[in-house]
């Protein structure tokens, strides 16, 4: 049986990014990058377009250096599944300012909506729990999204949420594809030079 949620991914993303303050955002390739873009381009968004499985590790490295700012990794279930080992690596350090939010529709949306492992009842939040994340949730309603946002902004412990969204392909909002540009503007916004 294929399992999917019902939340609107764009509404979820907009809620997480509301009044974002100092929030630093890393997005996984595909729809999560479009979702963040649809909520409004921002200098402190770092959009990945490839390197599948790397969203969590990029956010981890960022959280370990910008220790005073909340860091959100916004990615999809397929992207997270390709980087499951990263949860174990993160579990060794558990930076309190790091939140991983998986927009989990149980499908590979970019490639024709094939069912993913999470659509076959493999629950990502349990992996994060096994990796000693102090806060893991399966989010199925917008109140849960609000709780996640509060938790993220409070930087009170490494957090992981599998957010059960509807499986649908929405109109794409394409972020900039010039990775050097996105990197340089992100660093400039933190007061850092290009090299």
């Amino acid at each position: 049986m294929t399992m999917t949620g019902s939340l609107d991914r764009r509404a979820v993303t907009a809620k997480l990014l509301e009044d974002r303050g100092d929030l630093l955002v890393v997005t996984g390739l595909g729809s999560p990058s479009y979702d963040a873009m649809a909520a409004g381009d921002h200098d402190l968004n770092y959009y990945l377009w490839a390197a599948m499985g790397s969203a969590a590790t990029v956010g981890f490295g960022l959280a370990m250096t910008q220790r005073e700012k909340p860091v959100l990794v916004l990615t999809g279930d397929g992207e997270m599944l390709m980087g499951l080992g990263a949860l174990a690596s993160i579990g060794q350090k558990l930076p309190p300012n790091l939140t991983i939010a998986v927009l989990d529709n149980g499908h590979y949306g970019e490639t024709g909506m094939q069912t993913s492992h999470t659509g076959r009842d493999i629950e990502l939040a349990r992996f994060a729990e096994a990796a000693n994340f102090p806060w893991t949730r399966i989010v199925t309603d917008m109140d849960g999204v609000s709780d996640l946002r509060t938790r993220m902004q409070s930087q009170s412990g490494t957090s992981f949420a599998a957010i059960k969204i509807a499986a649908e392909n929405l109109p794409r909002a394409l972020p900039p594809r010039d990775g050097v540009h996105v990197k340089n503007r992100f660093r400039a916004a933190l007061g850092l030079s290009t090299i």
Binding site: A56, V58, Q92, K183
Partner: protein
Amino acid sequence: MTAVPAEEAPSWQDEILPILKSFDVRHLVYVPDAGHATAIREAEKDNGITSLALTTEEEGIGYLSGAWLGGERGALLMQSSGVGNCLNTLALQTMTRFPLLMLVTMRGDWAEFNPWQNPMGQATEAALKLMGVRTWRADQPEEVAHLVHGAATMAFNGDEACAVLLGQSLIGEKKWVK
């Protein structure tokens, strides 16, 4: 069978971490190998460095990309087998350009006992070059510090991906005991 390194921490191993620190490396991320044992051990004792074990080598590319995004430098240590795990993820460096310094201890290279190590070991340098990584190779102990210094200079001054391959003859022939 148990692998026993032929030599205990030869002196070139002692040189690695001080060179990295001279470039203000703050993150040492690795999948362990015998040739990196000294650098890893010393980094773990050093409060100025975050040392991090990875489950697979490509995690280090993402991590160092994020650390650089946040303003700090790092280096990635691995065995040559791990280069194969990194290939697709190296696109992250190519497309965003951040300093990526990799130190790679070789297997399947000189006097390899285990032939299963040979396919990736023999393809390591070519695979890195195919993905746009600049490579240097040290086979003599006195070459190591010089080449690591050079690769670090080019990585950190030029936002480049640079790898130093540390030949298997540096580490010594493994003695296999039943």
